[in-house]
Symmetry: C2
């Protein structure tokens, strides 16, 4: 059984805030941390704490500056590749849940490092460190609506590689690699919402692929990308 | 809080099996159904019960027959659009978890109808009907690994449309439509696994968008598809 617990009662995060301390207090209010817990934290909260916000009236300019490459444009929609290699709308630049009118929020510079800092601080506070996923809502090719995906991770690997394992009948699974970090981010979103002011969740009871991974492992390498 | 409960102890599903009855028994073993529960059931189990299996030595021929259009090919990989409009590898044709060597499993003819039949049968058994999601593991553009997504639904809408709602600061959310059916399918996958013989899960504690929706709402219409 897997349980997804919203972390509530956090204040609106401000640049310079100690997000790990705010999360730690929220985790204590929710009953503490258990071994194997995964913390999913919204990119918006991470970006704001890290000061990745900007007041501008040139949102498109900010998008093009944040983008490593523009993949498609249609009207206001810019599908762009970020400096991290993620492909998403507006290179991750967003006006919702920003600090104020005319403000935008940018993706963290290094979301894996953001996750690692939170993980280290929570490990010191609780004596054992959760896996941490920094999540963001991305649109997808071919499917309507966003789902939350992992843009930064620490204390886990993002992919569960079942190649070589066998199904119930003994057939060897040839191409089964599951993006569990993205499924965990999506599970977190179910309790976080967009308008509810819940910027983080604990996923309990899921055995993450162990190791010291990076969300970069989720990025399709250019030579395998069929939809450049 | 959202809880994801694996449904265990189901036999290997055979063509002609009453899948809803098998699921109903598993739900009873897991303690019964609660109001608002979402049942996530793996496409493989649905397809097998519906006889959507085939013995063939021409897998590529079956893929091309199941496809409405081929989007990309690279070696063995065929990214194809199914008759339902879903874009995925091999038009959903798969050899893993098949009835035997040389067998393949095809997607259900009408996965929404499959979900509706299961929902109706469980409603009769338990007196209240869960929302039902038929899920499958799809690869994605730009990201490594599969995540489970909804290919059929009943008793819910697949998209949570927050357009017009406001964030904590009062900013109106302009483009926020969340594919919660896909996030629910992914949450189910976390307890179902590929090799574990758990073909279904209950997601409890999530208030689905109410209504009588279709997984077709998740399909990007051609005029908005930037990656044809």
């Amino acid at each position: 059984m897997v349980t997804v617990i919203p972390l509530t009662g956090l204040p609106e995060v401000q640049p310079g805030d100690d997000l790990a301390a705010l999360l730690g207090a929220a985790i204590e209010r929710a009953g503490g941390l258990e071994d194997g817990d995964v913390l999913v934290v919204a990119q918006k909260a991470v970006s704001k704490a890290e000061g990745r916000v900007e007041q501008t009236d040139d949102v498109v300019g900010a998008v093009l500056r944040e983008a490593r490459a523009v993949r498609r444009r249609r009207g206001d929609l810019v599908v762009a590749e970020t400096r991290h290699g993620f492909v998403c709308a507006s290179a991750g630049v967003d006006r919702s849940n920003a600090p104020g009118e005319g403000w935008i929020v940018l993706l963290p510079e290094d979301p894996d490092a953001s996750a690692a800092r939170i993980r280290t601080a929570l490990g010191e506070r609780f004596g054992h460190a959760p896996a941490v996923i920094v999540s963001d809502s991305f649109g997808r090719a071919w499917r309507q609506g966003t789902t939350d995906v992992a843009i930064g991770i620490a204390g886990m690997r993002p992919l569960l590689d079942l190649r070589g394992e066998r199904d119930a009948r003994g057939y060897e699974l040839h191409s089964t690699v599951i993006a569990v970090a993205d499924e965990l981010a999506g599970a977190g979103e179910l309790v976080m919402g967009k308008a509810s002011g819940v910027p983080a969740a604990i996923v309990r009871g899921y055995a993450v692929p162990p190791g010291d991974g990076s969300a970069q492992e989720l990025v399709m390498p250019p030579e395998r990308d069929l939809f450049p």
